[in-house]
């Protein structure tokens, strides 16, 4: 009895819907991203197995640790980030598949778990002992401080709108009985817009490619990474590409475990790819001003509208 329960939880985290399932979706999303980007640039683009080949190759390569790196922190940071994303994916999918597993406050847990990959990048970059890594880490930190405020306001707009439901499973059930969140007035639409802007900033693509900035900072926080730790960072990025759209779908369109969610997922991914390919990189101060200025004001307008019941 006890053993079978333990095995079930391990299966939930490692195979479905946790690590393997989400990684497969994420790697597919990475491939779609690269392929569509290539088509936009009038190229053919990589074959479907490209992200898998990249990960396998990195796993089989040597891991070099620099002389100035803080060895333990440097090597453990990417795996801590990966573990957080796996837990995040499991909780998120379970809220869609079986809303009864949600617990009060799991939205707060998810919001905290979303911090961990960014923290892993900051810690890894700082521990690498490389000036480019340190600069990338500092930019990632500023970007995190920039986009997080308006996103938190947007999420709590929804909580307010649903009458104070603080669990993701509860929100899914609420939307099953009252219709999707996005169709429930202007405040939800404002929250949706704010969340859509949050998505590329969290992933660090397009205009918000500021920490990695390959033509200024080599590879930013990843500069010193090679082999398996770099593969872990690539997997984190790939899994976030699956997890973040699913989070948005769960918040705004109800359960992510129905056929319509696939359409939503593709729409969000296409919006992300088009944004990525048409917007040049912002400077970090411009990004800060944008998030703390117009976007925060917009999200506060949204929560004010939700407070008066719109």
């Amino acid at each position: 009895m006890f053993l079978s329960e333990v095995l079930m939880y391990i299966g939930l985290v490692v195979v479905f819907p946790g690590f393997l399932f989400t990684a497969a979706i994420g790697l597919a999303a990475v491939w779609v991203d690269r392929k569509v980007s290539a088509r936009i640039q009038w190229r053919v683009g990589p074959p479907w197995y490209q992200p898998i080949a990249d990960i396998v190759k990195l796993l089989s390569k040597e891991t070099v640790v620099g002389q100035n790196s803080a060895r333990f922190t440097f090597l453990s940071a990417p795996f801590i980030g990966l573990a957080a994303v796996v837990v995040l994916a499991t909780i998120l999918w379970m809220a869609s598949i079986c809303p009864a597993t949600g617990f009060v406050g799991d939205i707060v847990v998810l919001l905290y778990l979303l911090y961990v990959p960014s923290l892993a990048i900051i810690i890894g970059g700082s521990a690498s002992g490389n000036p480019f890594g340190a600069l990338g880490a500092s930019r990632e930190m500023k970007l995190l401080l920039a986009y997080e405020a308006s996103f938190l306001v947007a999420v709590f707009t929804l909580v307010l709108k649903s009458g104070g439901i603080l669990s993701l499973g509860g929100l899914v059930e609420y939307q099953q009985s009252y219709g999707p969140m996005i169709a429930q007035g202007p405040s939800a639409i404002i929250a949706f817009i704010v969340t859509l802007v949050y998505l590329p900033a969290k992933l660090g693509v397009g205009a918000f490619d500021i920490p990695e900035a390959e033509c200024e900072l080599i590879a930013g926080p990843y500069t010193e990474y090679s082999g398996a730790p770099l593969a872990a960072f690539k997997l984190i990025r790939a899994m976030l590409m699956a997890v973040l759209p699913v989070f948005i779908i769960t918040l705004f369109a109800g359960s992510a475990w129905n056929p319509w969610a696939i359409l939503w997922f593709v729409l969000i991914l296409v919006a992300l790819i088009v944004f990525k390919n048409t917007n040049p990189r912002l400077r970090i101060d411009q990004a800060l001003r944008f998030f703390w200025g117009p976007l925060l004001v917009l999200s506060l307008v949204g929560i004010a509208l939700a407070a008066v019941g719109l």
Partner: protein, 146 residues
Amino acid sequence: MTVKDGKQLGKLSRWALKKSPWVFHLNAGSCNNCDIEVLDALTPKYDLERFGVTLVGSPRHADILLVTGVVTMQTLPRVLHVYEQVARPCLVVAIGACANSCGIFDGSYHVVGPLDKVIPVDVYIPGCPPKPEAIIDGVVKGLSKL
């Protein structure tokens, strides 16, 4: 020799290495002509991402080191430094007449020698400068040695 490291890999790892070669471009004292041809080979016209080739900025991420130019006394320590930083297994490709045999700079006061005098080289691509097709061909041949 770096190809020997490649031979020790398992079947899956060797397939992955061939399908996802990330290149790092190192100028060891070139006149920039070969560098322009390397960049040309990475443009959408040739679209090397079809074969998984990506230009990376950090030698730690590289699988293939593309070296252009004669090794000069100024760049010698840098070339060695970058070569030591690349995660193994890696291929070293000498691009252009200078990297292969010093070209017209042979015997100059500042020249240390052709690239293979300094670090082990797997592929030689002659030409002044080699065409992008020749660079792609050389890299493919180097990968098929693995």
